[in-house]
């Protein structure tokens, strides 16, 4: 078939940020489907909570100490995360490196806090259905923290190598976006597991 050129795209940029980038949309897609997973488990938790006369079943809710420290740190981490995103979009390599190192460290601390949090639960997963649900929710969320922390560490190392330029800044921005999801998805779980039973 004959062709008739009507548009020259050679001057277009090679990558973009946020909603201009396909990776951003892919990240949104995964946030939505993972968010759906959280919703289903939360729905199951509430279903059993309404079905049983007593809830939590024969165990007090988990300790507020470690879970609350974790929650505060997670919320605070949104600020350096925002800086990483901003500095990424300004393609400021030095600041991006600093922010990513900070975010990696925060992530590692959060994993340690999560381990303490799990240790301060008063129920095991095989004790009763309440324990199963609590461990399922925490396990699912822990998987998200661990995934993003590994991702952040790899990206941090990458930004210290010769690859740290160009489209990688866009990756920094998308990685920061995903971290917001990890933090946001935690808040309802925190309220549900630690405050709802105490009301």
């Amino acid at each position: 078939m004959r062709q008739r050129p009507v548009l020259d795209v050679s001057g277009l940029p090679e990558y973009g940020y946020g909603a201009r980038s396909p990776v951003w949309w892919g990240t949104v897609g995964f946030c939505v489907l993972e968010g759906m997973g959280f919703l289903i488990v939360i729905g199951g938790y509430l279903y059993l909570a309404f079905l049983n006369q007593q809830w939590p079943l024969s165990a007090p809710p988990g300790s507020l100490l470690w879970s609350s420290i974790l929650t505060v740190l997670a919320v605070v981490s949104v600020w350096p995360n925002w800086l990483a995103k901003q500095n990424g979009e300004h393609e400021n390599l030095l600041k991006v490196r600093r922010d990513l190192v900070v975010m990696s460290l925060i992530g590692l601390v959060l994993i340690v806090l999560r381990i303490f949090e799990l240790g301060a639960l008063h129920v095991r997963w095989d004790q009763n259905a309440y324990g199963s649900m609590v461990w399922m929710l925490l396990g699912l969320h822990t998987a998200h923290i661990v995934t993003d922390v590994i991702d952040t560490i790899v990206l941090t190392v990458l930004m210290f190598t010769r690859h740290g330029h160009g489209k990688r800044f866009s990756d920094v921005s998308d990685n920061a976006f995903y971290w917001n999801f990890v933090v946001l998805s935690w808040l309802p779980i925190y309220v549900l597991l630690y405050w709802a039973p105490r009301l």
């Binding site: 396909p22 489907l33 979009e89 997963w125």
Partner: protein, 656 residues
């Protein structure tokens, strides 16, 4: 013109220079510098797949992956069909001794599981993987490495459950594996574990492909392909992908909880410790009903494409067709409880779900009327693809009618778990998916292979399928009303079900023969079929502007879209965009609604890592059936593979 077709938004905030504008290397060849066969050959080299086994396992070409996906899904269709044939032979006469209950249980479980999870969901995505990039006018699917990974994960999951079946550890608790039957107490051994992990494999793969398709449709459409110029097939699989994204997590969670109950002693579904068996049913059907539409929606896309082409006019009612797709997608989430009418629900709940079950007939009815109107006003050419679509109208509408009956609680209670239900859902599933699918294969086969399928065999194929199908499944309405329950391996002669069952078995054998003809047609046409040329049916959508089979780059220059049926609107010369690299994999990223060219982005090179990651995933999933620690060490292996996958290799694509 170019302002309508391209954005000129800066990447960096004002006053800063982004590397995204790095000047292009003057030695890099661009597609406005050469033309004709030289351009084709050079692009094919840039976008091609290396020869040899390593090349085959590293490929990220959506057409190669798509072809494998389609072939694999058909292989599972045949396996699922064969298991049905064996069941029909067993049921052909009362107290038949061909097999015992244990094998029969495995057969109906493998049949349902295979058809729903290994064929029904993947086949729509498989065709989408092949066709969507071509239809929206781009060079590869979004996230092509994820696409390769998804295929291998799907393949490994399907092989796993079938190999387990061959080793007599086949799942045997039905395709939905209800607790408590499938729980640790009533199903010891590994059979149900394999079933539950098969779900994890296939849903992981299905979800990943859904995200790829959503992003391809939103961000990689050819310049000018505004929302109202998207082909109806693409709309159908786009809406379908959203249904997948919202539905599949539920079954993944349900099967994970099931396997945890079985392997590490959790109590999600154990009423003795505060769990609940109905919770499983709710989660399963929250997925399971949308699943029916996940199977049906892509088929509406096949029908729209075939009807438009063979009616020789644009689809009547494009907007109502698109809105019906979206409405069906939404409503499909409000129906799940109608699978649970007999478990004892509050009456208000039952009424709500009856109403919504009847409501969904409306958008489906609108679609049917739009297609009929398109044919009515067109000049229909009755070739095999259209014949299958006409068969679909008949069978699907019949299935819809028994569906309306089942939506009513008293009737449903009466015929629950009988062959009436079996008849109903085979009418909607085979009518709603398999008939349009066979039409779609006849329709797109020339694009996939460059050759036409035989029309003569095609007509035989259709009539045998149509007659065999109705002969197999229509009598089941009556056997069901006479009280024959599903999932029994035999029945006594006094029940009086013998004759009807024999008719069903003969019908099933005729249906089976039609598939043998189909297979013969595919194999002989691959070698001896008439050469097709790029556009044998004179269709209007972009995939027909590419060569048959398409070159690795799909299009030498990215088309610019001016109409819903671009090839009908631009008959003399197709408008194109120029300026992409010839030496490197580059494609146009466009804006979401208006599809204005926005970025000139790199597309990933072939890589072996997705295959390695899929192998690691398979080891982790299968290992976890035997020890929970497999999640840890298997997960670490997957993590390492993913780092290898994403680490830049110094190629321009990875660097930019």
């Amino acid at each position: 013109m170019s302002d309508v077709l391209a954005t000129h938004e800066p990447v960096a905030p004002i006053g800063r220079k982004s590397e995204a504008y790095a000047p292009v290397n003057p030695r890099e060849l661009r597609d406005n510098q050469i033309d004709g066969p030289e351009l084709t050959t050079r692009l094919a080299k840039t976008w091609g797949t290396a020869p040899g086994l390593l090349g085959a396992l590293s490929t990220v070409d959506h057409k190669i992956i798509g072809r494998r996906y389609i072939t694999t899904a058909f292989m599972f269709l045949f396996l699922g069909g064969l298991s049905a044939v064996f069941m029909r032979l067993q049921l052909a006469r009362p107290e038949n001794g061909l097999m015992g209950p244990d094998l029969y249980n495995q057969l109906f479980t493998m049949h349902g599981t295979t058809m729903m999870f290994l064929f029904g969901v993947p086949i729509g995505e498989a065709l989408a993987v092949y066709l969507v990039p071509l239809m929206v006018g781009t060079r590869n699917i979004a996230f092509p490495r994820l696409n390769a990974f998804s295929y291998y994960v799907y393949l490994f999951g399907g092989l796993m459950i079938w190999i387990a079946f061959m080793l007599n550890i086949g799942a045997d608790t039905g395709w939905f594996s209800y607790v408590p039957l499938s729980g640790p107490e009533y199903s010891p051994g590994k059979r149900v574990d394999f079933w539950a992990q098969m779900i994890t494999f296939t849903e992981l793969s299905g979800l990943a492909v859904a995200v790829e398709i959503v992003v391809t449709v939103l961000k990689q459409r050819a310049p000018g392909m505004t929302l109202d110029r998207i082909p109806l097939f693409v709309w159908a699989v786009f809406v379908n992908s959203f249904v997948i994204i919202f539905a599949l997590p539920a079954v993944m969670i349900a099967s994970t909880m099931l396997i945890l109950d079985r392997l590490v002693g959790t109590h999600f579904f154990n009423p003795a410790e505060g769990g609940d068996a109905l919770l499983y049913q709710h989660m399963f059907w929250f997925f399971g009903h949308p699943e029916v539409y996940i199977i049906f929606l892509p088929a509406t896309g096949f029908v729209s494409a075939i009807v438009t082409t063979f009616a020789r006019r644009q689809a009547f009612g494009y907007l109502p067709l698109v809105l019906s797709l979206i409405a069906t997608g939404f409503l499909s989430f409000g129906l799940w409880v109608h699978h649970m009418f007999t478990v004892g629900l509050p009456q208000l709940g039952a009424s709500f779900f009856t109403a919504s079950s009847m409501l969904i007939a409306i958008p489906n009815g609108i679609q049917i009327f739009c297609w009929i109107a398109t044919l009515w006003d067109g000049r229909p050419v009755v070739k095999t693809p259209l014949l299958f679509v006409l068969g679909f109208f008949f069978i699907f509408v019949a299935g819809g009618l028994s569906g309306i009956m089942l939506a009513s609680v008293p009737i449903d209670t009466q015929v629950h778990d009988t062959y009436f239900v079996v008849a109903h859902f085979h009418y909607v599933l085979i009518g709603g998916n398999v008939f349009p699918l066979l039409g779609a294969i006849y329709y797109w086969f020339p694009k996939f292979t460059g050759r036409m399928m035989s029309e003569r065999l095609g007509k035989w194929n259709f009539w045998l399928a149509f007659i065999g199908f109705n002969m197999a499944f229509f009598p089941m309405h009556i056997t069901g009303l006479m009280g024959m329950p599903r999932r029994v391996y035999t029945y006594q002669a006094e029940m009086g079900w013998g004759t009807l069952n024999l008719v069903s078995t003969v019908g099933a054998l005729i249906l089976f023969t039609s598939f043998v003809l189909f297979l013969i047609n595919v194999i002989t046409s691959l070698r001896h079929g008439m050469m097709a040329g790029p556009n044998p049916w004179e269709s209007g959508t972009l995939e027909w502007a590419a060569a048959s089979p398409p070159h690795p780059q799909n299009f030498d220059r990215i088309p610019v879209v001016t109409n819903r049926e671009p090839l009908w609107a631009e008959r003399s010369a197709i408008p194109v965009a120029t300026g992409l690299s010839v030496d490197n994999r580059e494609l146009i990223v466009s804006t979401v609604t208006e599809a204005r060219a926005d970025l000139r982005e790199a597309s990933p090179e072939p890589s072996l890592w997705p295959f390695i990651a899929a192998v690691a995933t398979a080891v982790a999933f299968i290992g976890s059936i035997f020890t929970p620690w497999a999640v840890l060490w298997g997960g670490s292996a997957v993590g390492i593979a993913l780092i290898g996958w994403f680490w830049p290799k110094g190629a321009k694509e990875d660097e930019s």
